[in-house]
Amino acid sequence: MSAGPREPFENPVIEWFDSRLPIFTMMQKEYGVFPTPKNFNYFWSFGGIAMTMLILMIVTGIFLAMNYTPQENMAFDSVEHIMRDVNYGWMLRYLHMNGASFFFIAVYTHIFRGMYYGSYKKPRELLWILGVIIFLLMMATAFMGYTLPWSQMGGWAATVITNLFSAIPFVGDSIVTLLLGGFAVGNPTLNRFFALHYLLPFVIVGIVFVHVWALHVTGSNNPLGIDVKGPQDTLAFSPYYTAKDMFGLAVFMLAYIAVTFFAPNMLAHPDHYIQYNALQTPAHIVPEWYFLPFYAMLRGITFGFNLYILAGIGIIGAALWPVYTKGKALKDPLLGMTIIPAVTDFGQYSKKFFTMLAIAGVVFMLGYFSQTMGLPLPFSKWVLLDSKLGGVIAMFGSIAILFVMPWLDSHPVRSARFRPQFKVAVLAMTASVAILGYIGAQTADAMLFGVIQWVYIGQILTGYYFAFFVIILPWLSVTEKASPMPNSINEAVLQENARKAGAR
């Protein structure tokens, strides 16, 4: 995009154009010779895959919109009309419906890649934040799209999710009315959801553009998480990574085609084929699979936050103060009295740290049991945050916390490959999210092996999810010793090639 010095092109037409608007120069620079670490694995294909899915969603969506009617008495029929009478309408609809799922598969994998290899760390914090914004917008888009067919499941999911906002003190009810365009899900809801569902994907395109721009300023991270030191560490993006990404994309498309054409309703719910009826609540309202982990967190907060629970959280905060501040003391601003002393050696601090965590845990559990099992403790009925608002905070907080991840983890080493403890912690977090997804689809009172309610497991996993970000990441940042790292990407690649040649 810059008007820097320009190499002339041989082709006169291209040269004529490029000397007036240097698009070809830009493409050449950003996607042609763009120096890219030479050691990517296939996790690095998912950005391009996600971009492809975004374009595919927009194209199929626009053609659907040509035949779709956003009116409460006609929406369901118009979707069925698309399925039955519009030429290849069934294909458009199934591509769009399953495309949303595959878009999320791509993006979840992309996010996992970023976490595992530390791509969110300096200097890529802004890149990461833009990614989280895209993720949020995608969720909003998919959620509103799901109500468009005006089905039982879509309409009721909209009811449940918009109602969450009513938990917000003071303004909650007004927000719900604003979202719905009335007091309940109805025609105004459908109209505004359609308008926004049409708009947001283009906003996403805009942010993706900035996301990629930021990427091209910092350059890509890589599986070793070490910086590029010179040209010997990189390859031109084209043809090396265009070829590799095309292959990765093709494999992904195989799965997408298989599901779309052979099992298009695998991820749909039968109630999605029944027209919305405001008077009939379905027995179980389940969101789409990609929302299930967050839905489980929402439902997991079955208890209000009383003084004990808040005290527990406060003690954790105190224990973490030196960790967050890299050892600084906390002084009372008025009296100048030291409340938390400075820490010079976190190895020595660890004993104190874990003791405080244990105390916090006990206090927290006392509060928890007084809330859930009626353990009679003084003042335990004083709830500052009821379970509904608590659940909403947990749900939105679980995503909001991603924004500050680059500052919660300040360990100098990026890749989990050289951080044995972080590796275990991040994989456990990923597993927790997957299990939470399973729990999100269960009925409220479902049991695991008939012995323990899934809800409790969900609470433990939700607790771990937040502990991972708030406690484990900062703690490991100051204590974890990284394993030995190669000196450069090139060295590691040569070693790997030699090892393979030897094995052959």
Binding site: R84, I105, Y240, A243, A258, M266, Q275, A283, H284
Partner: protein, 306 residues
């Protein structure tokens, strides 16, 4: 340069496992899963028929999924598992059985259409069952539809045309309920997709009638059906051996009838299934070849890096 085959494996796992796991999980709480207690048990538990407790102007069959009773659900703890039949349309090469579809349509026309509408279908769609134009015209002409207003402003009756939608037995939802003891017979155009199990479920309902177990009292207009959620259904057993006369020599049994009509209803809900699978196979094979080629290209380009 597949430096870490692990990442490829991980990709495959994520691709397949994530949705499948949550899907499996979602399947666990199906409204029709046997022995499942539902949230909305209260009104049905009082012993009223699921049908009569239906909300006033329900125009969708959702009521049935939302209703059930703790009492009935407990009875269902006998864990009735519907049979998974070997339908001709199963699998990626599966196709509808035209003869069965025609017999199924005959059953719908002669039995089910007395109570159930199928408004999303037009008579012209029947050509997909193997009927020729003349036959489709004749089928359409066998019903009388109300049309108009004409130039004099009068409504008039005329014989059906292929472009007409299937004629509904009742003019509106209220009339349908009134004619069925308060229970709404749902439109069948989409029923195979609106119930877990699809054709298997419809077959299970049609063959699932029996006397109630000892100690279970049924009110008038209620029937015992092991496949129905809550085991009580307001639809009288529609099919019995010998009820419909087939013109081919297929067995005229309840089992055969219900298979044929289930097949027909599956087609009605998913009329483009065969085309979808055909295109899917082509697209998949094309993609497979392309993937192979791209793999070769990639290997070649990366050869100087190994």
């Amino acid at each position: 340069m597949v430096r870490h085959p692990l990442s490829l494996t991980a990709m495959a796992v994520v691709l397949l496992a994530m949705p499948v796991v949550s899907h499996a999980a979602a399947g666990k709480q199906t409204p029709n899963a046997p022995g499942e207690e539902t949230a909305v048990a209260a009104d049905a538990a009082s012993g009223t028929s699921p049908a009569t407790s239906e909300a006033a102007d329900a125009d969708t069959p959702a009521a049935e999924t939302a209703q059930g009773s703790t009492e009935h659900a407990e009875a269902a703890h006998g864990e009735y598992e519907m049979d998974h039949l070997n339908w001709s349309f199963n699998g990626i090469f599966g196709a509808y059985d035209r003869a069965s579809l025609q017999r199924g349509f005959q059953i719908y026309k002669e039995v089910c259409s007395a109570c159930h509408s199928m408004t999303r279908l037009s008579y012209r769609n029947l050509s997909a069952l193997g009927y020729n134009d003349g036959e489709v015209k004749a089928i359409a002409a066998s019903v009388t539809v109300s049309d108009g207003p004409n130039d004099e402003g009068e409504m008039f009756d005329r014989p059906g045309r292929p472009s007409d939608h299937f004629k509904s037995p009742f003019p509106n939802v209220q009339a349908a309920k009134a004619g069925n003891g308060g229970a709404y017979p749902p439109d069948l155009s989409l029923i195979a997709k609106a119930r877990h199990g699809g054709a298997d479920y419809i077959h299970a309902i049609l063959t699932g009638y029996s006397e109630p177990p000892a100690g279970k009292e049924l009110m008038s207009g209620q029937y015992w059906n092991r496949a129905m959620h809550g085991n009580i259904i307001a639809m009288p057993p529609p099919l019995t051996d010998g009820r419909v006369a087939y013109s081919d020599n297929s067995p005229q049994t309840l089992e055969q009838y219900s298979r044929d009509v289930s097949q027909f209803l599956t087609w009605a809900a998913e009329p483009h299934m065969e085309e979808r699978k055909r295109i899917g196979i082509k697209a998949f094979l094309f993609m497979l070849v392309l993937t192979g080629v791209l793999f070769g290209v990639k290997k070649k380009i990366w050869a100087d890096q190994h």
